[in-house]
Subunit: 370 residues, 2 copies
């Protein structure tokens, strides 16, 4: 497989803690319902899974935000629940509702039946990765992703979204042996899934631990962090073109455990908006010439509902909170990848996203010039 060389490698450089001329920016869920062109493609596809499983549609919507905004990375259009779907749980998206599994995993017998799925069932995802990478034509790097083992387990047990995680936590506290078995299978499945995305052309991979933050202290370390580490230990380190593939981990609500997450074998830690970026940099960002994690985040997505002038102010606040990025081209050092602290809201005015991206590039260039 040969792909075009990268024209904008600022995202990958920042992942590797290398200096960049501006702070790279992309947005979680940047291909989504806030864009009228996405809504139009989804209408053609008929359903969310119709969109995600069709290579042409998945490619089309992945590139849509790049046509509007000078974003520094693209992310595969897919869903975090494709892996349990391939395990046979029967994923569907009812109109106006979240995901739902036809066969949730709530008994010892159901857990006993779980196994790492045949990756051929997920070929549509790898085909989409390959297609998107080709369509990007070297414009920006492509990020592949998966839900974390714990986050997948939440949906697999609850069968849908939850506001109290009662069923999955009942299993966790009552039958930790079953939970560990499920998480081990999930971790090995996620590792195989991300490796196949890397083989198909993904240039970075991100693990979304969207529900790690609902766990109690001690339970987080045992049931989420340990299995994220198990995934990371199995990941390929280089992609199809021989380049290093950075690994990003984002635990929503995980700010309290940042010190422990620093021990993960990954390059980038994502942060939500509750975390003080300067404090996080001091804790895990490292120094020029020394080890550390690149940091990604963390503006509140609700800032995008304010007028552009206030968006500009809040962008500056986040950039200043991280502080002066390092500019040493010979050595690695603290770097920041600008992002939201959570996925973009479907109600976001698209022109406000333009204001945000522009403000990140303008202010971060100016910071480096001083």
């Amino acid at each position: 497989m040969t792909f075009q060389p990268l024209q904008n490698d600022s995202f990958l450089r920042a992942c590797m803690r290398q200096a960049t001329p501006h702070t790279p920016v992309w947005l979680m869920r940047q291909a989504g319902r806030y864009l009228p062109e996405y809504v139009a493609t989804r209408a053609k596809a008929g359903s969310f899974m119709g969109l995600a499983t069709n290579v042409d549609y998945a490619t089309e919507v992945t590139l849509q935000p790049l046509e509007r905004y000078p974003l520094d990375a693209a992310i595969l259009f897919s869903d975090i629940l494709t892996v349990p779907d391939a395990m046979g749980l029967g994923l569907s998206f009812a109109q106006g509702e979240g995901p739902r599994f036809a066969s949730p995993v709530r008994t010892e017998a159901a857990v006993a039946q779980l196994a790492v799925p045949d990756m051929h069932k997920l070929q549509y995802v790898f085909d989409a990765v390959h297609s998107i990478r080709k369509a990007l034509n070297g414009r920006v790097p492509l990020i592949g992703f998966s839900g974390s083992p714990w986050t997948l387990a939440c949906y697999m047990v609850e069968g849908a979204g939850s506001d109290d995680y009662r069923l999955v936590k009942t299993m966790l506290y009552s039958r930790p042996d079953l939970m560990h078995r499920m998480l081990a299978i999930n971790a090995d499945s996620v590792a195989a899934y991300l490796n196949a995305q890397i083989d198909a052309g993904a240039q970075a991979v991100m693990i979304f631990d969207s529900w790690g933050g609902v766990l109690a202290d001690a339970a987080f370390q045992e049931f989420s962090l340990a299995y994220t580490a198990r995934v990371l230990a199995q990941l390929k380190r280089t992609g199809v073109d021989g380049a290093v593939v950075p690994r990003l981990v984002f635990t929503k609500g995980g700010g309290l455990w940042l010190g422990q997450m620093a021990a993960l074998d990954c390059e980038v830690l994502g942060l939500d908006w509750t975390v003080n970026l300067g404090g996080a940099r001091a804790l895990v960002g490292g120094n020029v010439g020394g080890p550390g994690k690149a940091l990604q985040g963390n503006i509140d997505p609700n800032v995008l509902f304010a007028p552009p002038a206030q968006i500009d102010t809040e962008v500056q606040r986040v950039l200043n909170s991280f502080g002066q990025p390092h500019t040493d081209n010979q050595r690695s050092g603290p770097t920041h990848i600008f992002n939201l602290g959570h996925g973009i809201s479907q109600y976001t005015p698209p022109e406000h996203v333009a204001a945000l991206v522009e403000a990140v590039h303008r202010h971060s260039k100016a910071m480096r010039a001083t």
Copy 2:
């Protein structure tokens, strides 16, 4: 007003960082739907507000959990949204849904009309406090409470519960001047409300900042913490019997800001289950003979869905996480009040609550004996 002397002052002593023979325990929302006797009283009352506004019913349900379990404190049965209701926003609880306001506050004109409500509109609350205190007959102390200024503002703007806080954050980021005006009025209202509860017989008061944790770093300090401090600055320090009235503050999801919350002029900080109790004690709990905060919390309410043996193990884990409580009867020092990290679930088996309370008392006595 004269009330019977306290027979069990372990909760109040722990609030003041004084040694106690066991770790006192009470549960947020301990009078609630998981108890069949509560469901029966509510059925008689016809509606949630029918229950909360009737002094006899409110007294009855407040005492129900004490009849079942040897809890070390009672908490007024009421709702956190009584104050905005008294402001004229029209609170209602639809069957099977959360609270709803008929007139949410979303415009400059609506904010301009807000004012500290006439406390006579809340007389039913103060009457309930007086009635409950009398009915307790000195058994355990009575805690009064209110929502925090920010948490009230969330409901006042959203008009109901929310999963993204889009409307209230849109106002916060777009028109911080309006948000500050609303929060100042809320703070002065909450202070007057809690002072009237103290005058009616409350022996401790707790501020529930249930939604502080949804704010971004910096926004939390400016829009939540500052107004909690404004409430605290106005509170009476002694109750009708001349005893000191401890003040408790609980910010759900506020663990990252614990160091800053240590500066609040209150006696107790509540913690949710994501916080490491030992770490919190080291940060803000102080030493014997020195200043510090008492800590309250923080077991995951979902532990109550596990069998009693696992509940026992998890109770021990939480007690051990706090560590050995101080036993110096001459001086103040680090203390722990056992609680859930959030309100008890309506699906909780009542007999599991008995196991939890018993485990807290038994293990915490044993810890002091070693």
